[in-house]
Subunit: 295 residues, 2 copies
C-alpha cells in the first residue's frame, strides 16, 4: 500500500480496511491503493484520499454495496468476534494492479481473504517487505490458504485471540514464535488495551504499551490504522531496503500512535485531522510511558 517516492508503489486490498490503512499510512509516505467499493461508498472518503495524495488508480467503483464486516466487540473493547461478512462487490474482485503499482517496495496486504492477498502479491515484482494482516474469519474458513500466505510474507499482524486460534498455543510467547516458524521474520500480536508484542529473528522481542485511554469511542478500524501507520513508517524510513528490528519497533509504536488517535472518534473523523506534530507528541508520550532509563 505504501512506498518511498523512489520506489513508487505498494498496493493494499479491500476497501474498508484500506480506508483506515491508507489514510494512516499517508502520514508518512505516498500510498497506492488497490480495492473495490460499491456506489454506496462515501464520496467524502474519496475526497479525503485525494487530499492525502493517495493514488486511486487501483480503486474500482462498481454498482452494488461495499464490503461490510459485522461483529461484536467484547466488554473490554479488546476482543472481537466476526458475526457476518457481506462480501458484496468484493465477491468477484480479482484486481489487475495498475502497472505503476507493480514495483512496490513495501506491500501491505490488508485484512481480506487470503486467496485475494495471494492474487495481489503475485502481481508485485520484487517487494522488499510484505506485511499481511488477517482475522479470525480467515483462520476459520481459509486456514490452508492463510498458512501458505504466511510463508510468503515478511510480517504477519493479528490479535491475541487469533494468534492462539491459529497456533493452538495458550501462551502468546509460544504462539508468536510458532508463527515465526511458519515463515515470516516478524510477527506482531495486538492485545488491545495491553499493547502489542513484536517477535523477530534470534528471539528478538519488543513489548509496546497501549496508550492509556480511559474511553474508546469507536474501535472500528483500529487494527487497519495500526497496520497502515506501521507500513507507512517503514516505507518512509527504510530507503536502503533493510528493515532491522529496531526500525520495526519504532514502526509498531507509530502504528500504535495512529490507532490511539483513531479510536478517539467515530469512523475516520479523528484520523483525518491528525497532523505531524500530534503524531510526534504522542510518540514522545509513548516513550515516557515505556522507557524507564531516561537520558
Amino acid at each position: 500500500m505504501t512506498s518511498k517516492p523512489n520506489s513508487p508503489s505498494t498496493p493494499t486490498c479491500s476497501a474498508a480496511p484500506a480506508s483506515y490503512g491508507a489514510v494512516s499510512a499517508s502520514n508518512f509516505s505516498p500510498v497506492n491503493l488497490v480495492g473495490i467499493v460499491g456506489d454506496d461508498f462515501p464520496e467524502e472518503h474519496i475526497a479525503l484520499f485525494r487530499k492525502r495524495d493517495i493514488n486511486l488508480d487501483g480503486l474500482q467503483t462498481v454498482p452494488g454495496k461495499t464490503f461490510r464486516w459485522s461483529g461484536e466487540y467484547m466488554w473490554d473493547m479488546n476482543t472481537r468476534e466476526t458475526r457476518s461478512v457481506a462480501f458484496n462487490v468484493f465477491e468477484h474482485f480479482t484486481p489487475d494492479l495498475p502497472a505503476h503499482y507493480k514495483n512496490a517496495g513495501i506491500v501491505l496486504l490488508a485484512n481480506i481473504a487470503p486467496d485475494l492477498q495471494h492474487h495481489v502479491l503475485d502481481q508485485v515484482g520484487q517487494p522488499r517487505f510484505v506485511i499481511a494482516d488477517t482475522m479470525d474469519l480467515w483462520i476459520d474458513i481459509a486456514k490452508e490458504s492463510l498458512t501458505r500466505l504466511v510463508a510468503r510474507v515478511n510480517m504477519l499482524i493479528l490479535n491475541d485471540g487469533e494468534a492462539r486460534q491459529f497456533t493452538g498455543e495458550t501462551s502468546l510467547i509460544k504462539a508468536g514464535r510458532a508463527i515465526r516458524d511458519m515463515g515470516p521474520d516478524f510477527v506482531a500480536i495486538k492485545k488491545g488495551e495491553h499493547g502489542c508484542l513484536l517477535f523477530g529473528p534470534e528471539n528478538s522481542f519488543f513489548s509496546c504499551p497501549a496508550y492509556p485511554l480511559e474511553d474508546i469511542h469507536d474501535p472500528t478500524g483500529a487494527g487497519d490504522t495500526f497496520a497502515g501507520g506501521l507500513a507507512g513508517y517503514l516505507a518512509a524510513h527504510s530507503p536502503n531496503g533493510t528493515i532491522p528490528f529496531d526500525l520495526l519497533k519504532k514502526a509498531v509504536v507509530h502504528g500504535s500512535v495512529l490507532a490511539s488517535y483513531n479510536v478517539e472518534a467515530f469512523s475516520l473523523e479523528r484520523l483525518k485531522t491528525v497532523d505531524k506534530s500530534q503524531i510526534d507528541s504522542r510518540y514522545d508520550l509513548f516513550r515516557r510511558i515505556a522507557h524507564f532509563e531516561l537520558p
Copy 2:
C-alpha cells in the same frame, strides 16, 4: 519490611508472603521481618532468611499451622481466585514490633488482613514510604478497613481483576486513577503476562512489560516477590527520602525481574539462588524489550 542500613527497619506482616517478599527484597537492602508461623514452617526457609541477613526478631514461631492461602490460577496463569484461607496461627496475631523496627524508612505491608496491616502501621514512627499489597479476599470481606488503609499509604499494589473489583471500573486506566483518588500517590496494577501499570501524580503513567516466559512453573508468590523486590530497591535507592516517579519505574522493573525468576521454579527454589549479575542481566533485557529509542 526493608530499609537502608541507616534507617534500620521496615516490617512486613504475614509469613507466607513474607517468605517471598523478604528474600526478594534482601537482594537490595537489609530486611526486618515481622510475621508468625506455625511449627510446620520449613526449617530451610528460616536458614535462608538468616543467610540473607533478614532480621527475624519480629518473627514468632508458635505451635500450630502456618497461614495457608488456597485458590485457583486460571488457564492463563494470570488470574487467581481465592477459594479458601486457613488463618491458623495468624488468627490471633497482633504483633508488637521490636523496638528497632519502629523507625523503618520503607514499610511493605504484605498481603494480609487490612486490620492487621493497620495494626503494624500504627507502630511505625515516621516511615518515608509505605506500600500495601492486597488481594480479592480483602476486597470481599474487609473493604471498609482496606479503604481506610489505602488512604494511609503511599502506594497500593493489586492485580487487574482486583482493581476492577475494588473500583467498579472496567477500564484499568480509570481504575488506577480512581484508586489514586482514594489517597495513595502511586498505584501498581499487576497484569500477569501483560506486565504492570504504574500510576503516579499528575497523570504520570508507566507500562512495564512482562518478561516473555514460555512456561510458568509456579506462579505462587509472584506477587509477593514483585512487592518485595520493589520495596527493597526503593530502600536501597532513596537515601534522601524522596521517591520520584522515575525511581518508582525502576523499582517496578526490578520487582518484575525478581518475579520473573520466581515463577521459573517451585517454591523459593529459584529465588534463593538468583544473584546480582542475574538481576542486572535481566534488567537489561527488560530495557531492550521496552525501549524503542536506544542510545
